[in-house]
């Protein structure tokens, strides 16, 4: 090795004769000090997410109110009653499952599988791995509770509505893709919760949790739309003498 290099490497500590400025640490510390604190940031995210979710859900409910399931049920029942009045007891069962409605259902299901649900789950998994690398002690579960309450009430409301919606065209199995999706989201949610318990609440975990909730709401929304479409098909194709079989979704 170069002898000068060898000499300097072995005396490097003795070369370090220049002291840094006295206020150097103060400057570093002041730049390290976060503006808004972590928890404030998290609360901010949580509040923003809740407002968006509530606004979206409100808008959706308003839209659904116009062409809701009660309306469809009313029309279908009218059709059945008309058929009965015309003297035909049992008409042919309307098969809309093989028609365009099924195509729409498959398309919608495919979109859910390849779209936010599947992609989101994989993405969330990736982020979880990254987040694990930055482990933090468990802290402040109250923000999660706040989000939990607001989202849970929305999801519960939608679930109740779905369970009460009559299915005229197909039984519950026809929509099993959606119910499976929903179960998968439940598992994803549980996984995120476990991660939060283990590593503590971070912005990433909170984002994942909100993502899962939003995906759940999306799946339920798509399911409701699909049921409405199917019921509409029944209404359109219902012969005056037709009598539709009624099922309810078990989700």
């Amino acid at each position: 090795m170069d002898k000068l290099k060898e000499y300097l490497l072995s005396h490097q500590a003795e070369l370090d004769v220049d002291p840094p400025a006295n206020d150097s640490w103060e400057n570093i510390a002041s730049k390290l000090r976060p503006g808004p604190g972590f928890s404030r940031r998290v609360i901010g995210y949580a509040a923003a997410a809740c407002v968006i979710a509530l606004a979206g859900a409100g808008l959706w409910m308003v839209m659904q109110g116009k062409k809701g399931s009660a309306d469809i049920a009313k029309h279908v029942t009218e059709g059945v009653e008309k058929g009965a009045a015309n003297g035909v007891a049992h008409g042919p069962k309307v098969d809309v499952g093989q028609g365009p409605a099924k195509g729409v259902a498959e398309e919608a299901a495919g979109a859910v599988a390849q779209g936010p649900a599947k992609g989101g789950a994989e993405e969330a998994g990736g982020r979880r791995h990254k987040a694990r690398a930055r482990r933090r002690p468990a802290e402040r579960p109250d923000e999660i509770e706040a989000i939990d309450k607001s989202y849970s009430s929305l999801i519960d409301y939608q679930l109740k509505k779905l369970r009460a919606t009559p299915l005229y065209a197909e039984d519950g199995h026809y929509f099993s893709f959606y119910t499976e999706q929903f179960k998968q989201m439940d598992r994803d949610e549980q996984q995120v919760r476990n991660d939060i318990k283990t590593y503590g609440l971070t912005g990433e975990f909170l984002e994942q949790l909100i993502n899962v909730y939003q995906q759940k709401l999306n799946v339920l929304k798509n399911l409701q739309t699909e049921i409405n479409k199917m019921n509409n098909k029944v209404r359109e194709k219902q012969s005056p003498s037709g009598k539709a079989e009624v099922h309810y979704l078990n989700i």
Partner: protein, 211 residues
């Protein structure tokens, strides 16, 4: 990414120990061996006192790297601050707390390299300056105070100063220097020879003047 060779760590250790002993001179010196690692772990959790301790351990050494690379106190101060801020902000990514010293050193050097890339204008050298002088000269540096060597390293012109520091003090190879600074390998070699020549001339002159 270049890994640190052992000599770099070993050269660095006495300083850490020196500061460590100074910091604990009124306490029990037989601290648990993992005290440094625990300080790093705490600093990673955002503990400001632990971060301040790490700054006290490593600040001077890192500052001296910066001032040798930049040649002036003001830029060195900026580099030092940037390096520590980056290190503390990304400390969670460090898997082995015991490797903090080398990791921080690498961050500091990278900051300085980035600075140099933006500020150094590389001049072309005459062919004769590329001739290696290493084997031609006597060990003139042996009786020179290291503080004077440090001073003259800082006074070297931009370009050859960075190459000299990286090659002779940070144990980089010319290939790595060429890649990191965005110059050719032959430029790195010739700049190193130029720095050696200048150092020798200037230090010898000063030693003669000062007696």
């Amino acid at each position: 990414m270049r890994l640190f060779a052992f000599p770099t760590f070993s050269a660095f250790t006495p300083l850490i120990n020196g500061v460590f002993v100074t910091l604990n001179c009124n306490q029990d010196l037989r601290q648990p061996p993992n005290i440094h690692e625990s300080t790093v772990v705490s600093a990673g959790r955002g503990d400001r006192d632990a971060q301040a301790d790490l700054y006290r351990y490593y600040g001077t050494a890192m500052y001296n790297i910066c001032i040798r690379m930049t040649g002036n106190a003001s830029d060195a101060q900026d580099m030092l601050q940037d390096a520590f801020i980056d290190a503390f902000r990304h400390l969670g990514q460090l898997k082995q707390p015991g490797a903090f010293g080398g990791w921080l050193r690498r961050i500091t050097i990278n900051k300085c390299i980035q600075f140099s890339k933006n500020h150094v204008r590389w001049s072309s050298l005459d062919q004769d300056e590329e001739t290696p002088v290493a084997d031609q000269e006597s060990a003139w540096w042996l009786n020179v105070p290291l503080a004077l060597v440090q001073e003259e390293i800082k006074n070297l012109p931009g370009g050859c100063r960075e190459v000299f520091v990286l090659f002779a003090l940070e144990d980089f190879g010319h290939k790595e220097i060429a890649r990191d600074l965005g110059v050719s390998e032959s430029t790195s070699k010739s700049q190193y020879q130029r720095a050696r020549k200048l150092l020798r001339e200037r230090i010898t002159k000063k030693v003669h003047l000062d007696g």
